[in-house]
């Protein structure tokens, strides 16, 4: 299992990269010019998330430095131990459906604090990569067409979110438990 997952991880990007360039060339796309045109937007996007990151990383580093994080971890650890996950990821799990930028801030701070290749680092990376900002999307999409009654959209969205969260915890603790 670990081998299969790490093989996919190793090959996905190089294969995708080569495939896009080959297909692009076959379809007569000016690959270099297109690349540059696309890459140009990278700066603006990265700058746009600075306010989110500042707000969230400031909050979480106060939360951690003051000792409040230790209290939270002590309190929720028994529950998280049942499913085998480190309690440090709780703030991320709570924030993820609400704000993508804020969750990214929490994830960055945890990765910085514990290291990207630690159990917490890998788990929070997977959580950040796989779940989505459910409430934001619901509000934006329904709001854009004036829908006020969401019916069961929130229920199924959150079911999917929780499944993704537990699947992340399951696969990461299964493969990388030896890192903790």
């Amino acid at each position: 299992m670990l081998e299969a997952v790490s093989t996919v991880s190793k090959w996905a990007i190089p294969v995708f990269l080569a495939l896009v360039l080959v297909i692009g060339t076959l379809r007569r796309v000016e690959v270099f010019e297109s690349f540059v045109a696309g890459a140009e937007q990278g700066f603006g996007l990265a700058v746009k998330i600075i306010p989110f990151l500042v707000a969230m990383i400031v909050a979480i580093s106060i939360f951690r430095a003051s000792g409040a994080m230790d209290i939270l971890v002590t309190v929720v650890s028994p529950v998280f131990n049942l499913i085998g996950a480190p309690a440090e990821v709780l703030p991320h799990a709570v924030m993820r459906p609400l704000s993508g930028g804020a969750a990214l801030g929490i994830a960055s701070e945890l990765i910085k604090e514990h290291g990207p290749d630690s159990l917490i680092g890998i788990l929070v990376s997977t959580m950040q990569g796989s779940t989505d900002t459910t409430f934001y999307i619901l509000t934006l999409y329904f709001g854009s067409v004036g829908i006020r009654k969401y019916r069961y959209a929130i229920a199924s969205g959150l079911t999917a979110d929780l499944t993704t969260l537990f699947a992340s915890i399951f696969i990461v603790t299964l493969l990388y438990a030896h890192l903790s």
Binding site: V5, S9, A12, L17, V20, L21, I23, G24, L26, R27, F35, G38, E40, G42, F43, L45, A46, I49, I50, I57, V58, A59, I60, S61, I62, F63, S66, A68, L98, A102, G105, E109, I111, G115, P116, S125, G129, S130, T131, D132, T134, F135, I137, L138, Y141, F142, S144, V145, K149, R151, Y152, A153, A155, S156, G157, A160, L162, T164, A167, S168
Partner: protein, 199 residues
């Protein structure tokens, strides 16, 4: 909601620091946190420029359209209420394909177009239709092939293998998407049984 969580984290931090008799750590942590945020964001320029460049090629080569063609049968199965050649189908397919490729920026405008088209098929304009609920469920839990942002952050903080989370992410998002489809089908039937008028 975000407001209260944010407020809560900072207030609890200040109170705990005061309780522990080390209030000065708050100021230090705040300034260091802001610094970390800016350096992290700047480190993202590299990976974002790279992926947006590659994605632009994919877009212009029509790769999104190829993917759209491949997932068409699935769309017909999940959205029985949407007529075969309705413009909503195209927008839904484009949105979901963009999501799978990790093209978040391309996904949102397409998603808004899809919602607009679905609204034209909706008999009660203030209430979400079944097709809309399905679309939103798929949107919030879509298979992700390459989670590029977090790979960039991992690389910045010195990961030996930044892309090692591609496999775990693929696994988790596959489970999530399956759950989204099942939950959507389940709740749809449940709401039909309850007469549909209840929310």
């Amino acid at each position: 909601m975000v407001n209260y969580i944010w407020l809560g984290m900072i207030l609890m931090g200040v109170v705990t620091a005061a309780w522990n008799g080390q209030i000065e750590v708050v100021t230090k942590a705040a300034l260091e946190g802001a610094q970390t945020a800016v350096t992290t964001a700047f480190s993202l320029i590299a990976i974002m420029a790279f992926w947006l460049g590659i994605m632009k090629i994919a877009e212009e080569a029509g790769l999104v359209r190829v993917l759209a063609f491949l997932v068409r049968p699935l769309i017909r199965l999940l959205f029985p209420s949407v007529p075969r050649d309705h413009p909503a189908v195209g927008a839904i397919v484009m949105n979901l394909s963009a999501n799978m490729l990790g093209l978040g920026n391309a996904a949102t405008p397409m998603g808004l177009i899809a919602m607009n088209e679905l609204q034209k098929l909706n008999s009660r304009p203030d209430t979400a239709s079944e097709a809309m609920c399905t679309f939103l469920a798929l949107n919030t839990a879509c298979i992700t092939v390459i989670p590029s942002t977090i790979i960039g952050i991992r690389a910045f903080y010195g990961s030996a293998d930044p892309a090692m989370v591609v496999g775990t992410t693929l696994f988790a998002t596959t489970c999530g998407m399956a759950a989204a489809i099942l939950a959507d089908q389940f709740f749809r039937r449940l709401y039909r049984l309850r007469g549909g008028g209840l929310c």
